[in-house]
Subunit: 147 residues, 2 copies
């Protein structure tokens, strides 16, 4: 569904938010390890996200990444669009350029319902809501099963 880069970004952002809630600012090494993503690739991804304002970063000892609390809620959709564009959210299932109600592809109606649901999901959920969910349910966040 999503690109690897998007998956890493989503996992990383939720992890950062979770740590921020504990007054910690994780660095690239920690993030990459916890979300099981390659170190350098993770570094590159969060450099971009920092440049785009989705996270803040601090250099030097004690440095790392954090999400500005005053920004409050970041819908997944915003993040996803920033990384891979909005094709998933507006495109035709058949890949047609001019697919619409007047000129529908053979899958137009059925696929439209699914696309609407995807839109609803990523517009409704935020990095913060997912972090909160994880806390509430003591969800296993990454690979290990809770013992």
């Amino acid at each position: 569904m999503f690109k690897k880069e998007t998956e890493y970004a989503l996992r990383g952002m939720v992890y950062i938010q979770l740590q921020n809630l504990k007054d910690r600012r994780p660095g690239v090494a920690e993030i990459a390890h916890e979300i099981e993503a390659p170190y350098f690739f993770t570094a590159k991804i969060f450099q971009r996200l920092a440049k785009q304002g989705f996270v803040k970063s601090m250099k030097g000892k004690g440095g790392g990444f954090f999400i500005e609390p005053e920004k409050k809620d970041l819908p997944l959709k915003e993040l996803i669009i920033a990384i891979e564009g909005e094709e998933l959210f507006i495109g035709c299932g058949f890949g047609l350029k001019n697919c619409d109600e007047n000129n529908p592809c053979p899958l137009h109606h059925q696929y439209g319902m699914i696309r609407d649901q995807i839109n609803k999901l990523v517009a409704g959920e935020t990095i913060q809501s997912l972090a909160q969910n994880t806390l509430n349910k003591t969800l296993a966040f990454s690979r290990e099963t809770e013992k």
Copy 2:
């Protein structure tokens, strides 16, 4: 959602089926033109699909592609899996390897509903059902708006 190759394959298969219903066997040139896909890429895709048994082909004058009528109904899902694997139909939205009920990712439940719907759609619809739909509704199949 789908890879370009999958989109071209879906469009091309439905087009072939539509032409077969008119007792025609379109060739690569015709298919590529009608579905607006690159000629050589289309050729390669349908060579593979022929080798995998999804279509039959005939060489030489009057040759072209056709879908064996006795195979009756080909679910989109089979075709899609043959081209791009089943990741879309079984994978976790967060990209986690061990995401399941006991070890759910933060998006597990919500994404699972969408994935189920995708599965239902592509398992239920077939190349033949889409072609029939197109005929019944006089849908515009490719780029042009019906005049």
